[in-house]
């Protein structure tokens, strides 16, 4: 019973991490920059959806879509305001990283004013949180939804990148923006779309996170931001499939270090792994150095 439950716990936590990491990885894959404001967009998505439910009594699925849309727009604006000017000047990537940090500080501070700092949740009973009966372990409907969403969105994103014209352009920009531009790709537009998609993914992750854990406050993104970073490094920076795989691996390590070792050691083991992976295999578990990062 215990071990089965821990395996379920690991799969569940893995789907949360994967979902968060998808958008993170997408931005890195196309732009090659770490967008540390991704977690702030995640928070905004969650709170926009919450506001849609609390103030406008919308049903959860509609609210989730609005959260995705809102987060997508914020992320798009983020690209135009915080990244594009730097890119146009050819500023080093480190400046873009710092710029994203400035944006994160701004967005979180704004969220504290707009949504207050108290801990909030979606109304009790908006999603059944009793375990599904008849199973030898405990799993709730929302946990299944998050798992399906994580895998489903990964497959969708993968298909978008591999099978569509848009995806082809994104890959071209990722490979070499200048060449893509010469070939007639509107690079600026591709960046905008990429950020919008990443933001929408963050919004979906934030909303589902809020529904699953019932504990939302403006700093909710901070705790998961570092985990998300570990996840995308493990999977190979900017590798979409890798992000999902990384999410499940980090979750499994966390859960099993609690199950078999001591919970104090959980984070030490995770970060030690991060450290070692970078030393031994910086391209990540399934990354290839020259692969188009998508």
């Amino acid at each position: 019973m215990n071990l089965t439950q821990q395996i379920v716990n690991a799969i569940w936590l893995g789907s949360v991490y994967s979902l968060f990491a998808l958008g993170y990885a997408l931005v890195f894959s196309v732009l090659g920059v770490l967008n540390l404001a991704h977690s702030a967009v995640f928070t905004w998505g969650a709170f926009i959806a919450l506001t849609a439910v609390l103030s406008f009594s919308m049903p959860i699925p509609i609210a989730a879509l609005i959260g995705m849309l809102g987060a997508g727009i914020i992320s798009f604006l983020l690209e135009k305001i915080a990244f594009q000017p730097l890119r146009k000047r050819g500023a080093p990537r480190i400046s873009q990283l710092i710029s994203s940090i400035g944006a994160a500080i701004f967005l979180v501070a704004l969220a504290e004013r707009v949504f207050t700092t108290s801990v909030q949740r979606f109304p009790l009973g908006s999603i059944p949180d009793d375990p599904i009966p008849g199973l030898p372990f405990s799993v709730t409907p929302i946990q299944v939804i998050v798992l399906v969403a994580a895998i489903g969105l990964m497959l969708l994103l993968q298909a978008l990148i591999q099978r569509t014209k848009l995806g082809m352009r994104m890959r071209a920009v990722a490979y070499n923006a200048r060449t893509a531009s010469l070939l007639g790709v509107n690079v600026s537009r591709i960046y905008g779309i990429t950020f919008f998609l990443a933001g929408a993914l963050a919004g979906a992750a934030g909303t589902l996170f809020g529904l699953a854990y019932n504990s939302m406050d403006p700093s909710m993104g901070e705790a998961i931001a570092l985990k998300g970073l570990t996840v995308i490094v493990l999977g190979g920076l900017g590798n979409i499939k890798g992000a999902v795989l990384g999410g499940f691996i980090v979750a499994a390590i966390e859960v099993f270090s609690i199950a078999f070792l001591r919970s104090n050691f959980r984070d030490a083991i995770v970060y030690l792994l991060l450290f070692l992976i970078l030393l031994v295999r910086p391209q990540g578990l399934i990354g290839q150095k020259e692969e188009v990062r998508a």
Partner: protein, 400 residues
């Protein structure tokens, strides 16, 4: 003597606002016993600057917002009443420490040196207090912690006070009550291991449980900011404890309760201050039944000052108050009382006055400071039942 007092009371009722008139036909209002013990100040005039340092932004801002609202409420009441004398008022200056020690020091320095406040309420976090309180102590300004629960806060000097019961004085009662009432013989422990508040809570729980002869069947930790406790809870539940004791912050309380229940645990969950919030109950619904919380204040207490506070706070902010609000509200009144009784804005006189305040009625119950400037008032062990906290044992035991 009696006639004189009665005459004085009558006079003040005539002079002063309807607040006191309301007080007469009903229960006492906040400050009425001080109004009786100390005459209205004659030697002070104008707006008296008082500082308050709370974490209004940053990681711990969930507490600061509620504290600020409560202090503002108290100050409005004090000023509306004319508690410090006709035409006099408290000019409350809020400063944000942003959950950072450096900013707490800067805020304290600004209040003490620049704004020339006569006393300071706060800062929110114990670690901020360890950084910033020495500034007030060196300048000879009273600093009254309203949420500092760590050991050693008032050891920093004779100007450092607090009205928040330290963990070490609440948890023993909680453990004793829950062990005796529920017949607990084995317990699992879950706590945040990177936060001073949750770790000190855990240490007291552990030693009290061991002293009570309860066997510890499991200990699990998490990190501040975590939201997923399934793995830890699965371990604990697998060891079949009679109760799970939790030392956690407010944001962690709701997910811990819900995940424990989802994993099929139906036994009692015993928590500290972090769980003592109406939000925890409204956010967990039925899952909170059987939650036991030791606390300095009970939101559904029938103490008339407490019910009046709950009503006023809910009206002012739209939300029911939590324990942090009750303590901050009481703190502002304590400072006002000290100023009134000192009849002076001299910093040292206010300190002496605060240290020698008579026992007074507050939303926290009958309140006084001990000789180490720590609070003495009843603490209570509550059990959650259908969305409200009720006393676990009917009679309340005093704690120090």
């Amino acid at each position: 003597m009696l006639r004189k007092t009665a005459a004085l009371l009558g006079l003040s009722a005539l002079l002063i606002t309807p607040t006191l008139a309301f007080a007469q036909d009903d229960a006492p209002t906040m400050g009425s016993d001080i109004a009786e013990a100390c005459p209205a100040p004659a030697n002070i005039s104008g707006a008296i600057p008082v500082g308050a340092i709370f974490t209004i932004s940053g990681a711990a801002s969930v507490y600061g917002g509620s504290q600020q609202a409560a202090v503002q409420l108290a100050v409005d009441q004090i000023n509306d009443w004319g508690f410090l004398g006709d035409g006099n008022s408290i000019n409350i200056l809020f400063e944000d420490s942003a959950s950072e020690n450096e900013q707490a020091i800067a805020a304290m320095t600004k209040l003490v040196d620049e704004d020339q406040v006569v006393a300071v309420i706060g800062p929110t976090l114990s670690r901020e207090a360890f950084s910033a309180d020495p500034v007030a102590q060196d300048a000879g300004v009273v600093v009254l912690g309203v949420s500092n629960t760590a050991n050693g806060i008032t050891d920093m000097g004779d100007f450092v006070f607090r009205n928040s019961l330290p963990e070490a004085s609440v948890i023993p009662g909680t453990v004793a009550d829950s062990v005796s009432e529920l017949g607990i013989t084995s317990a699992g422990l879950l706590y945040g291991n990177d936060d001073d508040f949750t770790v000190s809570g855990y240490e007291v729980m552990l030693s009290e449980l061991s002293d009570a002869g309860v066997s510890i069947v499991g200990e699990e930790t998490f990190a501040a900011g975590d939201t997923d406790f399934n793995a830890q809870l699965t371990n604990l539940i697998g060891a079949n404890p009679d109760a799970i004791f939790v030392s956690a912050l407010a944001a962690e309380a709701t997910p811990i309760i819900q995940q424990a229940r989802s994993l099929g645990y139906t036994g009692p969950i015993v928590g500290g201050n972090g769980f003592n919030s109406p939000a925890v109950l409204s956010q967990t619904g039925e899952d909170s039944n059987g939650l036991i919380v030791g606390a300095a204040w009970n939101g559904s207490s029938t103490n008339p000052l407490s019910t009046a506070f709950v009503e006023a706070f809910s009206e002012a902010t739209g939300n029911p108050p939590d324990q942090f609000a009750a303590q901050a509200y009481t703190g502002a009144w304590l400072i006002a009382s000290a100023i009134r009784c000192a009849d002076s804005t001299d910093r040292a006189a206010i300190r002496d006055s605060l240290a020698s305040l008579p026992e007074i009625e507050t939303p926290l119950g009958l309140f006084t400071f001990d000789e180490d400037r720590n609070p003495v008032h009843p603490s209570i062990t509550q059990v959650a039942q259908d969305g409200v906290f009720l006393p676990l044992i009917s009679e309340e035991e005093p704690a120090s």
